[in-house]
C-alpha cells in the first residue's frame, strides 16, 4: 500500500510542477511552442512614378494567412515552421497584370528558437539550402540533412514574436541580428511606449505597444546598408499581449519619395497589417493547450487528467487488495 502512495505523490508532483513551471522564468514557457497560431497579413504597396510627360501607377496587394508550428529539435532548441497560404496581385495603372497563389510550407527544421531566450537561430540545413548545397541533390540526401538538422549557435536574430514577461511602459526590448563568428552585431533597443486594450478576433486583450517612429526607423538604414528617404508620417507598431508577451498585432506604414537623374519623381507607400486570428497553442488570455482548442474553461483537461491518474492508481491498488 505504501509504494502506491509514493507513486501517486511522485506523479502528482510531476503534474503540479509541469503546470506551475509555466509561470517561472523570464519568458512564458508557452511562447516557445507556437502551433496552429494563425496570423492574417494584409500588405498594400503603391508606387507613383511621374515625369513631365508620363504617370505610372503600380499597386501590389498581398492577402495571406501564416500558420506557425513547432517541435523540439533537442533539449535546448525548438524548431519553428511556417505555412504561408495566400494571394498576391499586381496592378499597373489600374489593371491587374499578375495574380499569384502562395502555398509555402516551411517545416520546423529550418529555424530554431533557443528555449527561455528570444534567440532565433537558423539550422545548418537552412544555411546549406541558402548556399545551394541541395540544388542537384537527391531526395534521400535532403531527408538525411533534415533528420540531423541542428541550430547554428553563432548566428541568431532577436525573435519579434514575443517579449519577456512582466514588462511595462518604459522598459526596453532589444531587436536585431547577431553573427558572433563574424563579430557582427546589428541590434537596437526599443522602448515599450504605452499599454492599450485592443479588440481582436480572439477577444479583447491588454497589450503593450512598441511604437517606432520615422526618426527611430533610421536604424533600418544601418541594417540594409542603404539610404531610405522615410517620411515623417511613417511608423511601425508592435502589440504584445501583456500576460504572455506574445505578438498579437503589428501595423506598419511607410512613405518614401525620391527623384532620379532623369527628373522622374517616385512616391512609394507601404501599408502592412498583421493580426492574430487564432492563438492555437499560445495561451492568450490564460487558457492553453487542449482547453484552448476545444473551447473549454481554464485547467479543465488538466483536472480531468489528474483525476484519471488518481483513478488508475486507485483501481490498481483496489484490484490488488481484492
Amino acid at each position: 500500500m505504501r509504494i502506491w502512495k509514493v507513486v501517486l505523490v511522485v506523479l502528482l508532483s510531476v503534474v503540479v510542477s509541469l503546470v506551475l513551471g509555466v509561470q517561472c522564468g523570464e519568458y512564458h514557457s508557452g511562447v516557445s511552442y507556437p502551433s496552429g497560431t494563425m496570423y492574417v497579413i494584409e500588405l498594400k504597396y503603391d508606387s507613383v512614378e511621374s515625369s513631365n510627360r508620363t504617370v505610372n501607377i503600380e499597386n501590389l496587394t498581398v492577402h495571406a494567412e501564416v500558420t506557425l508550428t513547432s517541435k523540439d529539435i533537442d533539449l535546448n532548441y525548438v524548431g519553428w515552421g511556417f505555412y504561408v497560404n495566400g494571394t498576391g496581385r499586381k496592378y499597373e495603372n489600374g489593371s491587374m497584370v499578375e495574380e499569384r497563389e502562395m502555398d509555402y510550407p516551411i517545416p520546423p527544421i529550418l529555424l530554431a528558437v533557443k528555449k527561455n531566450t528570444r534567440e532565433l537561430h537558423p539550422t545548418d540545413l537552412l544555411i546549406d539550402l541558402i548556399r545551394g548545397k541541395y540544388e542537384d541533390a537527391e531526395i534521400l540526401e535532403i531527408l538525411s540533412g533534415a533528420y540531423t538538422a541542428h541550430p547554428v549557435e553563432d548566428i541568431f536574430m532577436y525573435n519579434i514574436f514575443y517579449i519577456e514577461q512582466g514588462r511595462g511602459p518604459g522598459d526596453k526590448i532589444i531587436f536585431g541580428f547577431v553573427n558572433s563568428s563574424a563579430n557582427e552585431e546589428k541590434t537596437k533597443e526599443f522602448e515599450i511606449s504605452y499599454e492599450k486594450e485592443i479588440e481582436l478576433p480572439c477577444g479583447k486583450l491588454n497589450t503593450l505597444v512598441i511604437e517606432i517612429d520615422a526618426d527611430t526607423m533610421k536604424f533600418l538604414e544601418d541594417l540594409i546598408e542603404d539610404e531610405l528617404n522615410i517620411s515623417e508620417a511613417s511608423y511601425i507598431r508592435f502589440y504584445y499581449e501583456k500576460n504572455t508577451g506574445w505578438l498579437v498585432k503589428a501595423e506598419a506604414y511607410g512613405e518614401a519619395m525620391g527623384k532620379n537623374d532623369e527628373n522622374v519623381t517616385k512616391v512609394m507607400t507601404v501599408n502592412l497589417d498583421v493580426v492574430l486570428k487564432k492563438p492555437g497553442s499560445i495561451p492568450i488570455g490564460g487558457n492553453r493547450g487542449l482547453n484552448n482548442i476545444l473551447g473549454l474553461p481554464k485547467f479543465t483537461m488538466e483536472t480531468a487528467a489528474t483525476i484519471l491518474i488518481v483513478a488508475i492508481i486507485y483501481f490498481k491498488v483496489a484490484r490488488r487488495r481484492a
Binding site: 506523479l11 510531476v14 503534474v15 509541469l18 503546470v19 513551471g21 509555466v22 514557457s29 508557452g30 511552442y33 502551433s35 496552429g36 497560431t37 494563425m38 500558420t67 508550428t69 513547432s70 517541435k71 523540439d72 529539435i73 533537442d74 533539449l75 524548431g79 515552421g81 505555412y83 497560404n85 502555398d103 510550407p105 516551411i106 517545416p107 520546423p108 527544421i109 531527408l143 533534415a146 533528420y147 540531423t148 538538422a149 492555437g280 497553442s281 492553453r288 493547450g289 487542449l290 482548442i293 483537461m301 488538466e302 480531468a304 487528467a305 484519471l308 491518474i309 488508475i312 490498481k316 490488488r320
Partner: protein, 145 residues
C-alpha cells in the same frame, strides 16, 4: 501481453500525456507512457504503448492545434502533412520514441514482478490453496508408500 491492459493503457496514457504535452512535451511523454505501461502491466504491452504513445504525445503540440484547421478543410492538407513529416523525421523524435519504448518495457517488467509477488503472497495466505497443497503432498506420500 494482456489485451485489456494494452487497450486501457494506450488511450489513458495518450490522453494524460497529450494534455500535459503543452507544458513540457518530453516530461509529458514519459508521464503518459509511464501511466500507460502501468496499466498495461506487461513487458510487451508496455513496449507497444511506448512505441505508439510516444510520438502521439511528443508531437501533440505540433499536430493537435492543426487538427481543427485540417478538419475545417481550410488549408491544403498535403502541405500540412509535409510539415508534420518534417517534425516526425528528426533525431530527437527517434530518441524520444526509443526512450519511450524502453521506459514502457521497464515499467511493464516492474508491474509483472509486482503481480507475480502478489500472487505468491496470495498463494501462501489462502487457506484453500494451503489445503490443496497439503492434500497434494499427502497424495504424493501415499503413492510413494
Amino acid at each position: 501481453m494482456t489485451k485489456k491492459g494494452f487497450l486501457a493503457g494506450l488511450p489513458a496514457g495518450t490522453i494524460i500525456g497529450v494534455t500535459f504535452s503543452f507544458y513540457n512535451p518530453i516530461i509529458a511523454t514519459f508521464l503518459g507512457v509511464g501511466i500507460g505501461a502501468f496499466l498495461g502491466s506487461s513487458k510487451k504491452s508496455g513496449g507497444a504503448i511506448g512505441l505508439l504513445a510516444s510520438p502521439l504525445i511528443y508531437l501533440a503540440p505540433t499536430y493537435v492545434p492543426m487538427l481543427p484547421i485540417i478538419l475545417n478543410g481550410g488549408e491544403n492538407i498535403l502541405f500540412i502533412l509535409i510539415m508534420l513529416a518534417g517534425a516526425l523525421l528528426s533525431l530527437s523524435t527517434t530518441i524520444i520514441i526509443l526512450t519511450g519504448v524502453i521506459l514502457g518495457i521497464v515499467i511493464g517488467h516492474i508491474m509483472l514482478r509486482i503481480a507475480s509477488k502478489t500472487l505468491d503472497e496470495e498463494h501462501i495466505e489462502s487457506p484453500k490453496l494451503k489445503e490443496f497443497d497439503e492434500n497434494l503432498a499427502n497424495d504424493r506420500y501415499k503413492n510413494k508408500l
